[in-house]
Amino acid sequence: MAERLLLRCRDIPDLRRLDVYTAHGGYQATRQALTTCSPEQLVDMVKASNLRGRGGAGFPTGLKWSFLPKQTAKPIYLAVNADESEPGTFKDRVIIEQDPHQLLEGIIISAYAIRCHTAYIYIRGEFALGAERLEAAIAEARSAGLLGRDILGTGFDLDVWVHRGAGAYICGEETGLIESLEGKRGYPRVKPPFPAVHGLFGCPTIVNNVETLACVPHIVLRGADWFRSIGPEKSPGPKLFCVSGHVERPGTYELPMGTPLREIIYTHAGGIRGGRKLKAVIPGGASMPVFTADEIDVSMDMDSVQKAGSFLGSAGIMVMDETVCMVWAAFVIGRFFHHESCGQCTPCREGTGWLEKVLRRLEFGDGSATAADVDLLLNIAGNMMGTTICALSDAAAMPARAFATKFRAEFEQHATLGRCPFRPVVEPPRRHAHA
């Protein structure tokens, strides 16, 4: 795809400024949506576009919107998920920092479609610059009559508030996000009820990812058919891919959904750094099962990646070359999820810690690891899957299971050697009992 849409900021300097943004056709989609479409027509348009959520789960956006109650006395809220905490993911951040009005347009149009008058952008605490840029953009939009009361004279009102998180991965899970927005501990909620019925402050709520919403203005301007024509029909559209690790040109790439993983790594990201050999790729952020070097002939769209045994997730493509120890990689990921489990559900609370402990003894060899530890890992991971309130437990179990299965020999080698056969690694500290 020659033309960049989501990443127009790469081609237009200062696009984050309202004057620049409007000079390049900005807010035309908003005007068009609010003056020529009914909310129902917009929901139908988004449904017809087959837009699927970019936050990780790939849920059809129009369908999600249609779960809102048709009649309700309560306010409807839109919560914009700008928590972007999945390791290996840095796509929403680009939009937020470089092209915040694109996101605001997506928010205004989507809010109008779902009859919402208050939207919250829940932004990851570490994104200080992003929060600043969003606040500035909101102020600009408000003084230009694009936010607040009677937007563009259409009678539609919308307020947008920025809420900064405090550093918990789990607040990116949509109901953890809602609890956190309410000022509570970020505990994902048991479902049902789902947020569309009982969300923020007990009111109907839609949670959408930043990139998902950024697609909406383009759908309005170019039509659902255009959107559906990009990539596979069932999971179409322009897509941001975050490539990190041992490639020549790591970065965020806008490519059509369904671009082959091999092409992304070798063509767009310039191939493996220093001419080394590819060993493993995680296709969708740290929570998704790893691919071996032999498994990269896969189209990067939701259904194809799933068919190949992993998930597109957040499209965080993490590339590892031959120097990387797979036990170490699994350990780093396991340690992350142990640290981030909110601790509500028994299998996740206890399982994440247990996984880390087993991976730690395999990698850093206190001599207590045995070959049976590989089966123990697989068994613990199996017991953690599909049994909890949110998907974090699966997110911790899936990578551990994939690494231990696909690189079993390397895991067993660690156990027999009693140490890591790769370069010596420094053991990161254990968590203190009262950290």
Partner: protein, 528 residues
């Protein structure tokens, strides 16, 4: 009403029920930790995972509503594997404390481990996460963080029932711990309930800790007598001693809870001051007597005095601590003696009460007095005045210590002037010092009977322990006095007394011990 099948049993249940509740109705217990019928659904322990056909994943029974045609499996291999896994996860960081843990014997972790797991540990001991132990967090409650399984029952109780939020969960993952919120102490009037609902030994009672192993204790259904609410309770006892009160579920009265004052009120039932023998005044001091001699004296003197001095010369004061049966028999006795009966329902002024359970009326049976036509506090002062003026030949005090409840000097002067004073009570109090005969009677933990709570609900209690020494049930003593003075058949038991009451008194019509069952029933006048 949806029809569903659980473990091969078909059942029709009301809409809106969860699978765990539907299973309960079939007598199938789905193991659970976090679910409690009186609290919101947390769904965090994952112990209640069951297989529901057509669902790819196991579902938690506590948050899944029944649906027509649902087919549930609670014991097949898939659910068993999940249950074992959850138990293993719960135990990896759990201390090996059972031998020194006060929860042993009523611990859901122990119980389910024996029922569903019984696997050897795959987790090395030194790797366990260590937390704080034996922290007093309030006057009644001790916390052991290591034993906590983070079911959030305690925090939900404090958030949703008392709205005091003294406890919260801090930290994340397997470092999560229950802790007091900054600056708080767990001292709300209902704090003891968290001990009851904690499924493990993380929250234990500072009052009960280490006093008895629960498996040695017996229990009896009863009703708390410490205020007019009449919370349903279980009395835990052994060899004549009461060790604790715990709430017993009654949706119409106390749901699942009781207050701390009521919980500790068992102590008042076995205090130092208990009377153990009938006492008859000798020259200067009381002499222990036999029941037959004491009863003979009482009936003889009361009968003589009433005959001699005519109607109204004998006074009876009955307090709202008396069960319905005793009130009924006192009225019979009063009729035989043409006595004046005054009812007393006294509570300390400014006593704690709230809009949840605790009532300002600290008597268990004020409503019972009313339903038998006695007006609480109506005539007590006239009776005292008559006594003080020498116009009363005899006075019977039933479960009351007038000296504590009225101006003590006035009472003393009055009691001193009454030629014949008969006291029926559980404990020795100031009024008994003036008595001619003291008849020791049982507490409500030692006899059968009924109380009528503030809302007019008639509720049964039954003898948990046997009374100390020669002490007898109040109804038994009064029935004998009434039989001697008024004639008629003796009663076979408290139940028969109640039957006679139900016959005679409109408010109790249609009620019987079997009709009251374990949950009680509204009295007729209260029902309308």
């Amino acid at each position: 009403m949806p029809t569903l099948e659980i473990d091969g049993q078909r059942t029709e249940v009301p809409d809106g029920l969860t699978v765990i509740q539907a299973a309960e109705r079939l007598g199938i217990e789905i193991p659970h930790y976090c679910w409690h019928p009186g609290l919101s659904i947390a769904g965090n322990c994952r112990m209640c995972l069951v297989e529901i056909e057509k669902n790819p994943k196991l579902q938690i029974a506590c948050n899944t509503r029944v649906a027509d045609g649902m087919v549930v499996h609670t014991t097949n291999e898939k659910t068993k594997t999940a249950q074992r896994a959850v138990l293993e996860f719960l135990l990896i960081n759990h201390p090996i404390d059972c031998p020194v843990c006060d929860q042993a014997g009523e611990c859901k972790l122990q119980e389910y481990y024996m029922d569903y797991d019984r696997q050897r540990s795959r987790f090395p001991l030194p790797a366990k996460v260590r937390k704080k132990k034996a922290i007093p967090i309030g006057p009644l409650v001790m916390l052991d963080q290591e034993r906590c399984i983070l079911c959030a029952r305690c925090t939900r109780f404090l958030d949703e029932v008392t709205h005091t939020s003294e406890l919260a969960i801090y930290e994340r993952g397997d470092h999560c711990e229950i802790e007091l919120a900054p600056g708080k102490v767990l001292d709300n009037p209902y704090s003891g309930n968290v001990v009851d609902i904690c499924p493990v030994g993380a929250l234990t009672s500072r009052d009960f800790r280490f006093r008895a192993r629960v498996w040695y204790l017996e229990r009896a259904d009863s009703v708390c007598g410490a205020c007019a609410n009449g919370c349903n309770i279980e009395i835990y006892h052994r060899e004549g001693r009461i060790f604790r009160f715990q709430p017993r579920q009654n949706a119409a009265v106390n749901q699942y809870w009781m207050c701390d004052a009521g919980r500790l009120s068992y102590r008042d039932l076995q205090g130092e001051g208990r009377l153990t023998h009938p006492l008859v005044r000798g020259e200067d001091e009381f002499l222990p007597s036999t029941w037959s001699s004491a009863i003979g004296q009482v009936t003889g003197r009361l009968g003589d005095l009433a005959r001699e001095h005519g109607p109204g010369s004998v006074g009876i004061v009955v307090s709202a601590r008396a069960p319905n049966e005793e009130i009924f028999l006192l009225r019979r006795l009063g009729a035989a003696l043409s006595a004046r009966i005054a009812a007393l329902s006294w509570s300390p002024p400014g006593a704690f009460h709230d809009d949840f359970l605790v009532k300002a009326d600290k008597n268990p049976n004020t409503e019972g007095l009313r339903l038998q036509g006695l007006v609480p506090d109506g005539e007590v002062d006239q009776l005292l005045e008559a006594a003080g003026a020498g116009r009363l030949a005899a006075l019977v005090l039933h479960r009351t210590d007038l000296t504590a409840w009225r101006d003590a000097a006035v009472v003393r002067a009055a009691l001193e002037r009454v030629p014949c004073l008969v006291v029926l009570d559980t404990d020795r109090r100031e009024a008994s010092e003036y008595a001619d005969v003291v008849l020791p009677i049982a507490t409500y933990a030692e006899c059968d009977g009924t109380f009528t709570n503030h809302a007019g609900r008639v509720q049964r209690f039954s003898a948990a322990v046997s009374p100390p020494g020669e002490v007898r049930a109040g109804w038994l003593v009064l029935a004998e006095l009434a039989a001697r003075l008024a004639g008629g058949e003796p009663f076979a038991g408290a139940e028969a007394v109640f039957a006679a009451l139900a016959e005679e008194c409109a408010a109790f019509r249609g009620l019987s011990y079997s009709a009251l069952g374990s949950d009680g029933r509204p009295a007729a006048s209260a029902a309308t």
